[in-house]
Symmetry: C2
Amino acid sequence: MSTQTADHTDIRATNLAAVLGHLRRQAPCSRAAIASGTGLNKATVTSIVGDLLDRRLVRETQQTQNHVGRPATLLVLDGSAYATIGLEISARGLTALGCDTAGEQILRWHRAGPGVDAGPAKTIAALAALARRAISTVQSSGRRVLGITVGVPGLVNREGSVVLAAGLGWRDVPLRAELAAALGRPDIPVTADNDASLGVLAEHLYGPLAGAANLVQLTGDTGVGAGIIVDGRPLQGNLGYVGEIGHLRLIPDGPLCGCGRRGCLEALASLPAILTRVDGTIDDDPQHQLDTLIRRADAADAAVTDALAEAGMHLGHGIAAIVNLLNPEAVILGGAYALLADHLTPAIDKALREATIAPDAGGCTIVASAFPSTATPLGATAQALTPLTQGRLPAG
Amino acid sequence: MSTQTADHTDIRATNLAAVLGHLRRQAPCSRAAIASGTGLNKATVTSIVGDLLDRRLVRETQQTQNHVGRPATLLVLDGSAYATIGLEISARGLTALGCDTAGEQILRWHRAGPGVDAGPAKTIAALAALARRAISTVQSSGRRVLGITVGVPGLVNREGSVVLAAGLGWRDVPLRAELAAALGRPDIPVTADNDASLGVLAEHLYGPLAGAANLVQLTGDTGVGAGIIVDGRPLQGNLGYVGEIGHLRLIPDGPLCGCGRRGCLEALASLPAILTRVDGTIDDDPQHQLDTLIRRADAADAAVTDALAEAGMHLGHGIAAIVNLLNPEAVILGGAYALLADHLTPAIDKALREATIAPDAGGCTIVASAFPSTATPLGATAQALTPLTQGRLPAG
């Protein structure tokens, strides 16, 4: 029932997006291979490739391919002219990742803190400082920054404001606007999004399950959230408040959650909940505390493996709700869950199979993320590149 | 990241679909209005309208419109040549609905039984008899049947087989294949789908919220299921097993569900669960039992209103899980829930607001369906029309 029609500007953008997408998945490839792979005619491909060569978004390699007739020059994505920057705010600290338009990482930095108690103003100031340094580094590599996207564990509205991030103690923080103001670079678009939504975008583009049409990524480092790909596209919902599986009530009158309710999945199976259960508290250095947890789990420390099995059972019930509703191909355990996957997965699988109505959990598999610490900022670099991947060339 | 490109056949189909869609929403309208509404140029619109006139999918009215220059002939959809048939199997009986390509209902029949105990073979035989009669009626109106779709309360795979319909007691029933074989009309395509998925399609196309990009319809007449529209399109998932909110576990160790688990939403708040709670049993005539329930509720019979308030609370928690994950614009109460909406909605709203993490339930409203008894077969007629709405003309 789409009203989308095909006028000439749209067709040019659609086709440019198709050529770039084909190159991203298949390069190196010839113009003829792009034409046959996209269904476009050769004249159109040649014209589009010409534009992309002019903008240094594509380059010719020295390689040629020789099937029949004269040898064909092979093309690859060119990352020498442009890059995007992805940022992440989490309870474990701040991360910046720079990625050029060929998908190569230019920089990847993590800094601890400023800590949940610091409040949004200090955190945004620290994030802006990190972003400014990232912009400088990208620029000194000769590339222009096409955009910056920041991921945050909470509800983010369409204006990029954080409506609620219980795990950070944030409420109604105009993150996008304040970060943009602190950067003072009106030439660089800034956007903000939910961390899990960006994380699943990284999986969808770059992970072992890249291209799967229905994919979920679950993270629990701060709160518990799900990033969701439906029918090949990121789920957005009416106002952007999607994937909030963390507040599914699993146990009426269960333990108190940061949201004020009781028995939420987040209160039972987030990383902070697991650490609190095992150690009685959250340390000043949650990264070290996580490392210790993993070591104890790997050493079969019963207090830890029991806690993880119980968390896994709760996660399995939460995942079952997602699977019963959305029937994804896979649920990817992201962040710390990926590092703990060997210990969580048996209990998750058991609860999932018990609680899913479709046979064999509807074909859904549970897998560990290939990007346990960088899925969100990596997805953020891709999100910041959206105008280009939709076929709109950077302003000259 | 779509790989869809625009070759000439695709463009023709896309544009034909856009012209038909514009006419469906806006008719009567002129060729010029279609051009400006779809963004297509006038020559393209004239050519497509010519094809549609030839096939009697569109007709010119006697009306004209006179802005500037010569009067423009107005066009409307023409339903005189083709129709589709939608069928529904439910615990309350069998329904057939015929709809022409202009959206006019040609027939609408309901028959009670053959009852849940009859088993799939008898039910499919009765459905085929009903469908044969519907085909005759459509044909004697001078129209060709373009397709038949049947909705069933259960998991339906991509081949149209019912993997599980707990409320009917069906498991692994090749519904589509057996209905097609019983009809013996290879010229008429038959498909099968989940009842709630078809119901939400009717709401999305014809209801007061038509066109809403993110919409859910909840029914509980047999089991409890959700039909889901995401980003303007029906949610399909990996294997088609979507919307199964009925088996969300709300109360660990709660009442036994037909699926063998305990404390499922379906065991607490489906129509059969409500009737059983109020009357102690399900009658032979569930339609009469429902009518009695509604009368008693309207008369403020405390046993009934208490049962409905409790069911509403459980439904609110189930809906909250959907809202937290998908952030729809509205959740539509379908089937018997629509008839009971006045009694269910206050408790649903209260639980929903308490259990949703986004403020104001993420902007989601709870509304009663405008099609309490026909959403599924109406959606089924639309589903059967999919090739045409996607721009593929019927074979000549």
